[in-house]
């Protein structure tokens, strides 16, 4: 066996013997972890909290279901013990002062006053502010207390909001029904509007059509009538002229007749004298001869003719008179006709003038009416468009409103329902299952650091170290022996911790081999670090204090006490490089997350850190040996 190996084995045996002979150290190393794990295990177990409660004082001057709901909500948190002080005080101010005084001197964890009319103000839609005074010197509790109060406030506010929304919902449902009714009438309105538009079109059409017709018809009729009248007048004048000519002819004829009659009469009377002479000649006085009869017949007929001629003469005279009268009348009529023609001409002029004026007025009226109609049409179009848009909007509103009121107020208040499903079944896992990795890390860190730093300091400060330094066995085997011996002790401790975790706290581990390896590696890191501290320390107290000084930040930065994500950025950066963080990550990835990649990364980083620490410890020992 080589001398170095002999030295290494001898040193290893010595270290182990020393560990087991040093009763106090052994007890501390064995018992401390047990105490810590039992304590932290109990701390992170899911058992009920202790009997000590946080005292909370309040004054309920409202005494309504809302204030009772608020208080009841807080009372549901088992950690709080609520007491109402309202009965001891006559007014809010004195009660508030009492609560503030007691909160500020630490007798109450927090306090609040529910003022009178609290609910009424809320019901009236006026938000209320309720001041809650927290005793915030216990920084680790005040966050929880605020969470409780905020949770209950939210719960009560939700309840109030729910009531308000339920009422609003009813109103909205009514409004929706009315809207539905309006919408139902919208087509009718639209039809009416269309009809109105049609009528407007018709009116406009009529406005264009009749005005042209009336104007032209009237003018045409009047012109026609005037033309007719003119023609009639002309006809009448022609007739009158003919008539006058005829009358003149008649008068001439009558004169002619009269003259003829006179001649005739003379002839007849000559005939009569001849006949009478003949009859006398025939002395047909008492003779009935044929000649006398014929003369007699001629005489009778001559007399009749004479008589008729007398009548004709008279009639001709009368006709002549009458023709004269008619001619006079015709002249009168002719004059009247001239006057009528003159008036007709005047009327024609007036008609034309009136027609022009009327046309102008009609044109102006039509233009104005057309513009107004156009405007009205546009208005109607706009109204219709607006009506259509309104209808569309109303329909959309109705649909939305219908969809809205179809929802429950609860779904509006809390539209997103949180269904928190844990990746790790709560029925199977307990808090200790997640915290155990931090707990084990802390225990290993404290034990290894204190064990090795004090051990190293004792060694260094005793002459045994000096003697060992000049021995054949170099620093490396001795350092290795020390590390391995301490690591063996720590491995036993690791196994004990794992056993307690499993059998006492029921922790569920996976990949136990990895866990032991990671914890052993961590223990080697802190053993090496402890050796380094022990080498650098000038007293055992310094070694212990420096170990604790290093351990405490590592504990707080280990994610066990304060979540990593809540740490300051600089602390996070430091925490990332802490072997405790690496170990916790590696342990979790091995046992909890079953994530080989992250496990390898964290474990790898831990191994590197451990190697560095061991190297530093070795260098410190070598430096010490070199004087």
């Amino acid at each position: 066996m080589g001398k170095s190996l002999t030295g290494f084995i001898g040193a290893l045996r010595k270290e182990l013997k020393l560990f087991f002979r040093r009763k106090t150290t052994t007890a501390l190393v064995v018992l401390s972890p047990l105490i810590i794990i039992f304590f932290l295990g109990a701390l992170f177990s899911d058992a009920d909290t202790g009997t000590q409660r946080l005292p909370v004082g309040y004054c309920d001057f409202d005494q309504t279901d809302i204030s009772a709901s608020f208080v009841a909500g807080l009372s549901n948190f088992g950690l709080l013990s609520l007491k109402n002080y309202a009965e001891f005080f006559s007014n809010e101010q004195t009660c508030r002062e009492f609560l503030q005084s007691n909160t500020k001197r630490g007798a109450l964890a927090f306090s609040f006053v529910i003022p009178q009319g609290f609910r009424d103000e809320l019901s009236a839609g006026r938000p209320q502010t309720m001041q809650v005074l927290f005793e915030n010197s216990r920084t680790n509790l005040v966050g929880l207390e605020k969470y409780y109060v905020e949770a209950v406030t939210k719960q009560v506010s939700n309840e109030i909001s729910k009531q308000v929304i339920t009422k609003a919902w009813a109103r909205l449902a009514e409004a929706d029904q009315k809207l539905s009714a309006i919408i139902a009438k919208m087509p009718e309105l639209d039809d009416n509007l269309a009809k109105a538009q049609q009528q407007l079109d018709k009116i406009e059409s009529n406005l264009n059509q009749p005005l042209e017709g009336i104007s032209s018809n009237i003018t045409r009729d009047l012109s026609t009538q005037l033309e007719g009248a003119d023609q009639q007048l002309s006809a009448m004048e022609d007739s009158l002229a003919i008539m006058k000519f005829a009358l003149n002819d008649a008068a001439d004829s009558a004169n002619s007749v009269s003259n003829g009659v006179t001649g005739l009469r003379f002839g007849i009377e000559s005939a009569q004298t001849s006949i009478n002479d003949l009859s006398n000649g025939l002395n047909c006085s008492g003779s009935a001869s044929a000649a006398c009869s014929l003369v007699q017949t001629l005489k009778s007929k001559n007399e009749v003719l004479l008589s008729s001629l007398t009548g004709v003469s008279n009639s001709a005279i009368i006709a002549n008179n009458k023709a004269a009268q008619a001619l006079t009348t015709a002249n009168t009529v002719s004059l009247a006709l001239s006057q009528a023609r003159s008036r007709l001409s005047t009327a024609r002029q007036q008609l034309e003038s009136s027609q022009t004026l009327a046309n102008q007025q009609v044109q102006a009226l039509r233009s104005s009416a057309s513009q107004q109609m156009q405007t009205q049409r546009q208005n109607l179009d706009n109204v219709r468009t607006q009506l259509q848009q309104t209808e569309s909007s109303m329909r959309q509103t109705h649909e939305e409103l219908a969809a809205l009121v179809a929802q429950s107020p609860e779904s509006i208040l809390n539209p997103v329902k949180l269904e928190a499903v844990n990746a790790f079944d709560e029925g199977y896992y307990k808090k200790i299952d997640f915290a155990i990795y931090g707990i084990m890390t802390i225990i290993i860190m404290l034990s290894a650091l204190l064990l090795s730093s004090t051990n190293m300091f004792r060694e260094k400060s005793s002459s045994t170290y000096d003697v060992s330094k000049i021995s054949f066995t170099g620093a490396l085997p001795q350092a290795l022996a020390k590390i391995i011996a301490n690591a063996l002790v720590m491995t036993v401790e690791i196994l004990v911790i794992l056993a307690i975790s499993v059998f006492v706290f029921g922790v569920k581990f996976q990949q136990l081999g990895f866990l032991v390896a990671i914890l052993s590696c961590l223990s080697v890191f802190f053993i090496a670090l402890g050796m380094l501290l022990g080498m650098l320390a000038r007293s055992e107290n310094t070694a212990i204090l420096s170990s604790i000084t290093l351990a405490i930040p590592a504990i707080f930065a280990s994610d066990l006490v304060i979540p990593f994500e809540l740490m300051d950025a600089k602390v996070q950066a430091i925490s990332n490089f802490l072997p405790t963080t690496m170990a916790i990550n590696a342990l979790k990835h091995a046992s909890l997350y079953n994530n080989p990649l992250r496990l390898e990364a964290s474990f790898g980083a831990l191994v590197v850190a451990t190697a560095l620490a061991a190297l530093l410890a070795y260098l410190a020992m070598t430096r010490s040996r070199n004087g």
């Binding site: 001898g10 010595k14 040093r22 005793s462 002459s463 000096d466 330094k469 021995s471 040996r625 004087g627």
Partner: protein, 322 residues
Amino acid sequence: MNLMIALNASNLSKSLGKLNLRDVSFSVSSGQTACLLGPSGCGKTTILRMAAGLLSPDGGKVRYALEKGNEITPRELRGSIGLSLQEPALYPELSLRENAEYFASLQGIYGEAFSAQFADLCLKLELSEFAQQEAGNLSGGQKKRASIVNALIASPQIVLLDEPTAGLDYNSRRLVWELIEELENEGKLVLMTTHYLEEAEYIGEYLVIIDDGRVVAQDEPGALLSNVLGKSIVRAECRPGEHFEPEQVRSILAKAGAESVACNDSIVIAKTLKPIAAQAALEQYITNRRLKAFAVCRPPTLDDAFFVLTGRVGAEIAEKRP
């Protein structure tokens, strides 16, 4: 088979706190026991630690010269040095044997070789019956001797002992002395520190007297005494409550032919070739001063030389030990 080794310390200097070691040079060879002698805090242990390679000197060097002529540093010689420090190098929780076993293992010694050596050393230092006892339960003297066992368990060529008999009773001291003589006889190089003048005088083949961080004298004991005080001295000591007047005493002795006078309030040592005259003059002074002291004329001792060299008496430095 033992090698011939010589320890050469040359111009060593080291500052450690109040200690200011300077220009220390001496040499020790195999088969020789050298004693570093001096008052507490003078730097003896520091020199020993430098010789062991536990401390590096600020200046100067410690080298071990081998037979072949080459020189090596103490660190290169590790494993061949047995070291016993003032504080016993023992783990109190381990038995004496376990302690020795550990230190033997560091030197690669185990099994029968260890057992034989351990038994031999225990026998020589009368520790056999305590071999299985925890070191913490041993007496101070037993611990001291056990520490020497640990130093010698691997039969080192160089043995460095820092006050190996401090606090030991006379019997134990004799055992240690005998062991050292045996080592010396075995041809080993032994360098030890002591504040016991008689011990140094008894076992030291070479003395290095150190005071205030420097070597004030070094030589073999006889030569050292001769060089410092000659063949005979006149010495007088006051009783408690009395005191000399150093200047007057020096003047009287100088007139009486003394070569040199070392004197303080209570001790006068005069180096002279005319001891009778010096003794008479000193007695005359004592009588005149009506002191109860008396002057003697005798060959010088190491204590006398120590007083002359350091102004301190051996008992004084011994009493000052913690």
